[in-house]
Symmetry: C2
Subunit: 155 residues, 2 copies
């Protein structure tokens, strides 16, 4: 009885940019995390990390408060995550030369390596998909996604 409505739902989803991106992103994220953890032999990467890390790429580091703001949580929520990453040697926390109250979180050389490695895992997944995708289209897809990401991050 619901079949017709379900069919309509599916068609509408398949025509929604957001839905398509969310599903594709979820699938890549799951496989990427699984891949990294499989190589490490133990769980080292959680979804919380993949949300925090993209915001740590400013050369001079980012304030805890700023991280909390962009993630939409309190600064207390960010603290344990930063502490954990600092413990693992992925980030460093330093005094802010311009404000003695503040501290700046930035990637260590090891942290950059880790992120390059993570990107490598995603690239491997992409390569495994290649045979089933049209070669030229993937490059075009990436180009459009870069443009879209710019728009999304701008606000």
């Amino acid at each position: 009885m619901n079949d017709r409505r379900l069919e309509g739902l599916r068609r509408r989803q398949a025509n929604s940019l957001g839905f398509l991106l969310i599903r594709c992103g979820q699938l890549f994220n799951e496989r990427g995390i699984a891949g990294v953890n499989a190589e490490a032999g133990r769980p080292v990467l959680r979804e919380a990390h993949t949300k925090l890390l993209p915001h740590l790429q400013a050369p001079d580091g980012v304030r805890i408060t700023e991280l909390a703001r962009v993630l939409g949580v309190t600064k207390q929520a960010v603290q344990p995550l930063v502490a954990e990453l600092a413990e693992a040697g992925v980030v460093r926390v330093e005094a802010d030369p311009a404000d003695a109250r503040a501290r700046r979180v930035s990637l260590t050389a090891h942290g950059v390596d880790a992120m390059l490695h993570g990107t490598g895992v995603l690239e491997r997944i992409e390569r495994e998909l290649q045979p089933r995708l049209k070669r030229g289209e993937v490059e075009k897809l990436k180009m459009m996604l870069r443009g879209l990401l710019g728009v999304l991050e701008a606000g």
Copy 2:
């Protein structure tokens, strides 16, 4: 000192299909959940839901065990979530006519409405983005994403 390496990282990420999809998907997901919750006036949708719901679109419903398998968790973990959605009238849990041990979880008419509404929120976000995107490219982007999603879900 890390600037050059950070620059390299950024360039490599911007050329990784997985990275681009994960970031775009995250941003859409966050905004979609925020939009639905803002309209409801209270938090009604969590990320756990957006992971479970896409698997509930089979007309005859899905078994708890099957849901657990595709989500990669135990069936005990799925139970509270299904119970919560049943309580909210989004899904119905019925006996499986073919196996008296099993139960089938499926969307109610109200659940389909809710998912259509969620898709509508994503469409609104997409419309708000439209002015800053090239019109023809969005359609092409969707077409490619549909193809990619098919490949990803196939295995």
